[in-house]
């Protein structure tokens, strides 16, 4: 895709600098107007009457919880009235969702929610766009600090999003849906999926059986997905006496089969270290081992052994230590990176599909699996205007504001006090992120 850099810089100083409250007020108005439009298309919330709703607002930093709505109209008119910044509902279903005492709500079950989000992943791009900034002296730290290294002042974390973050999240969602959920007996049609509005995706499973599971029981599923406590006792070991590695076969079930299938997939997809590194450089497999594995003879031999379902894997040059590293690597690539506490919590609040994310102004967009595969997170959930005619003037208030792509235009990076004029969607993104103040309302 052709990407353009844009945004008009305002050279002359404008006198319309507004205070923070004004920016908030303006955002709030924009959201309200947008909700008035969105209600017509608002997605259906399953079992709405049994869910607890919660809201965060623009001007208060506490949450209003324990709200209940018997029907969608009721919720939608409330959204128009109260203008929330963030809207959540419980993954759990209750007899009396509005009851303020948790134990009296009457828990009836809880969706199994998987949150896949760049927030909990370690991605190289984060070094380039997530910062720890001193609230006193503006000093920018790239590493996590709890107080300013220069003046000991308090720190705020400024997190950003980029294509890489969202690609990484998408990759994990596909892994979850394609590779793990079928083991549990779920197909692509059994899942309810949405873009989170920020750095990831939510997958909801609402099957009757899964709803009744306790936290401990959910942990079984979560461990399965994340590869936790995988404990191959009599396989994935090297037998020095026989000179082979006891592997697994592609027909095996569960993790056993997953290891063989992933190994085969990797070997068939990559025939050079370069191509291998493009996908797997973060796993730090020794170059020496990669060379041996990808050497044409060895590679063919392994592919052959895997294809004919021979569970004994042999490569002359590989001994115990190397096989151990290959085993670790295969386990690592097979794991799915999900936000564990979300899935095991049976009272979790989760962002409402169809609402607007208060930190980006992006739509929390429901998707089916195929939508998701082709989903463009910097275009498809953009609901505010990207037209030049709808430009707004802003002043950047953070020492470092990374670039952001909206549709196919890249805006930024910007410096503190820089005054810019950008389309509504970009202005709302930057102000929601808290890195800019509004100078003028735009149209």
């Amino acid at each position: 895709m052709e990407k353009r850099r844009d945004s008009k810089k305002i050279t002359k100083h404008t006198k319309e600098v507004t205070s923070l409250e004004d920016t908030t007020l303006e955002l709030r108005k924009k959201f309200t107007l947008k909700y008035a439009e969105l209600v017509k298309y608002f997605p259906k919330i399953p079992e709405i009457a049994s869910r607890e709703f919660a809201f965060l607002f623009w001007d208060r930093n506490y949450m209003i919880r324990h709200r209940g709505f018997t029907n969608p109209q009721h919720l939608l008119s409330e959204l128009k009235n109260i203008n929330p910044k963030h809207v959540y509902h419980s993954a759990a279903l209750y007899k009396d969702p509005a009851n303020k005492i948790m134990s009296e709500k009457g828990w009836m079950g809880c969706d199994f929610v998987v949150d896949i989000d760049a927030d909990h992943m370690e991605l190289s791009c984060q070094e380039n766009h997530d910062y720890y900034i001193c609230m006193k002296c503006d000093y920018v730290h790239r590493e996590k600090v709890t107080k300013c290294q220069k003046c000991e002042g308090p720190i705020r974390k400024q997190i950003w999003l980029c294509d890489k973050c969202l690609e990484a999240s998408k990759y994990e969602v596909i892994k979850l849906v394609d590779d793990f959920l079928p083991d549990f007996g779920f197909t692509k049609n059994d899942i309810d999926l949405n873009f989170s509005g920020h750095r990831g995706y939510h997958v909801h499973l609402r099957d009757k059986f899964i709803r009744t599971l306790s936290s401990e029981e959910r942990r079984q599923m979560v461990d399965y997905i994340t590869g936790t406590n995988f404990d191959p006792t009599d396989y994935l070991i090297y037998k020095s006496s026989n000179g082979y590695f006891i592997g697994t076969t592609i027909d095996d079930a569960g993790w056993k089969g997953r290891i063989a299938r992933n190994f085969l997939k990797i070997l068939t997809t990559h025939d050079s270290i370069d191509s291998f590194n493009k996908e797997y450089s973060k796993y730090n497999l020794d170059t020496k081992i990669k060379q041996i594995l990808l050497n044409p003879d060895n590679r063919n031999q392994l592919i052959h052994q895997l294809t004919i379902k021979n569970q004994y894997w042999t490569i002359k040059e590989l001994a115990k230590g190397s096989w151990k590293k290959i085993k670790e690597f295969l386990i690592q690539v097979s794991m799915c990176d999900i936000d564990v506490p979300v899935s095991i919590d049976t009272h979790r609040l989760i962002r409402v599909q169809g609402s607007i994310h208060g930190k980006t102004g992006f739509l929390v967009k429901p998707l089916n699996y195929y939508d998701m595969v082709n989903f463009e997170p910097f275009s498809d959930p953009i609901i505010f205007s990207t037209e030049k005619e709808a430009c707004m003037k802003l002043e950047i208030n953070t020492p470092i504001c990374p670039e952001i792509r909206i549709k196919d235009i890249i805006y930024g990076p910007y410096k503190k006090h820089e005054q810019i004029e950008v389309p509504e969607a970009v202005a709302i993104f930057l102000t929601c992120k808290g890195v800019a103040d509004l100078l003028s309302r735009g149209n």
């Binding site: 399965y224 936790t228 396989y235």
Partner: protein, 393 residues
């Protein structure tokens, strides 16, 4: 008479439907006879029809508390039903979780053996009746050369796996495919053993006091209660095999690090240990002058205890008998990474673990300990200092 009774299954597995009523037909009795009289009559009948009942009952408790493998033979007649429910009633009355676990572990192991002998079709019927329905497939599925003839639906499997905690039975280590968990007969029997274990443990509902008073008024039962009470009392004094030892520079309980105390407590309560927990105990004991016997004793209370396997593993961890090497204790870093560290645990935590210790050459900053043996060393220092009233630094 129900379908299952016709098969006689309830005599073999008394918790199945109809068993309770066969033991205690009070619901059908229409007389307004006082409870004490009713039970007195019931039990004197039972004890006179089955003279061996008395000794059998006693044996269950003695063997359970001695953590002995076996010596009890289960029958498959009404005596088995009476034995089962009388044991359960006594457990309710004693209201002692440790006793519950010991007895349940012993009996469930006996039922495990029994389940292993069932033919596949009967196992399917029993499993359904026990609420963990399995399916049998004559052809089976071949995974790694092992034919798996049984399968359980994943939603039935997950709850029992969560209870078992045994690493081998965690969902991730099983053959899972299309919402099914494939198993061999041994596994199936082991899962049902856990269900049986839970059937034996009563759900204590605060009625123990009343019940105990009532039972004490019933002749043969009161004698049994007294004998069991004496055994429990005796056991209390000789309970912890790990409290009395004087090895590793006099290893008293306080010297055990939090991570070990936590596991010991689990084991004492008959809760199954994970693979890593077992290894941690075995390596720690091997490196702190504990004998193989003492180590075996820790595992004796576990539901899946098998003396031969336990002994083999422990000896293996010490490099006995083979060319194997002796393993060193896990480091705190390793234990932290596998979430076994209990440094800040409310019950077991200790500042030595949580904050570290003052060491020569490190000035005023505390240095973290590196492995659980360090804990023993520093805890001992702390105690000696306290005894001699030396300030900490």
């Amino acid at each position: 008479m129900s379908y299952y009774n016709a098969y006689g299954l309830v005599y073999k597995y008394p918790w199945l439907e109809g068993g309770r009523e066969m033991f205690d037909p009070i619901v059908e009795s229409e007389s307004a006879e006082p409870l004490v009289d009713y039970y007195n009559r019931l039990f004197s009948d039972y004890f006179s029809i089955y003279p061996e009942l008395y000794q059998k009952l006693l044996d269950v408790f003695i063997f359970a508390l001695d953590k002995k493998e076996s010596g009890i033979v289960l029958t498959d007649d009404k005596l088995n039903i009476i034995l089962f429910y009388t044991v359960k009633t006594l457990l309710t009355a004693f209201d002692n979780r440790i006793l519950d676990n010991h007895v349940a572990n012993l009996l469930s192991k006996l039922y495990h053996k029994r389940l292993l002998q069932e033919n596949p079709q009967d196992l399917v019927i029993i499993s359904k009746k026990m609420g963990l329905p399995c399916h049998f497939d004559r052809k089976g599925k071949d995974f790694g050369g092992v034919i798996h003839h049984f399968w359980v639906e994943i939603h039935q499997y997950v709850p029992i796996a969560a209870l078992l905690r045994d690493s081998n039975y965690q969902l991730i280590n099983r053959m899972v495919q299309n919402g099914k968990v494939f198993l061999i007969k041994d596994h199936m029997a082991r899962l049902l053993q856990e269900v049986a274990r839970r059937e034996i443990i009563p759900d204590h509902q605060g009625i123990s006091g009343e019940l105990l008073t009532l039972l004490k008024k019933i002749n043969p039962i009161s004698a049994i209660i007294n004998e069991i009470a004496i055994i429990i009392e005796e056991k209390k004094y000789s309970q912890s095999p790990y409290e009395k030892t004087n090895v590793y520079e006099n290893m008293v309980y306080v010297l055990y690090p939090p991570c070990i105390k936590f596991i010991l407590n689990k084991a004492t309560n008959g809760v199954n240990l994970t693979h890593s927990e077992r290894l941690h105990i075995a390596f720690f004991y091997a490196n702190t002058n504990h004998t193989v016997e003492e180590t075996v004793d820790v595992f004796r209370t576990l539901p899946d205890f098998d003396e031969k396997i336990a002994r083999y593993n422990i000896e293996f961890s010490r490099g006995i008998g083979g060319k194997g090497k002796k393993y060193s204790v896990y480091s705190c870093a390793k234990l932290k990474s596998i979430k076994l560290c209990k440094a800040t645990d409310k019950e077991y935590g200790d500042p030595i673990c949580a904050e570290g210790v003052y060491r020569k050459g490190h000035g005023d900053t505390k240095v973290p300990i590196k492995n659980p043996k360090d804990f023993v060393f520093w805890k001992n220092v702390e105690i000696q200092r306290k005894l001699q009233n030396i300030p900490k630094k």
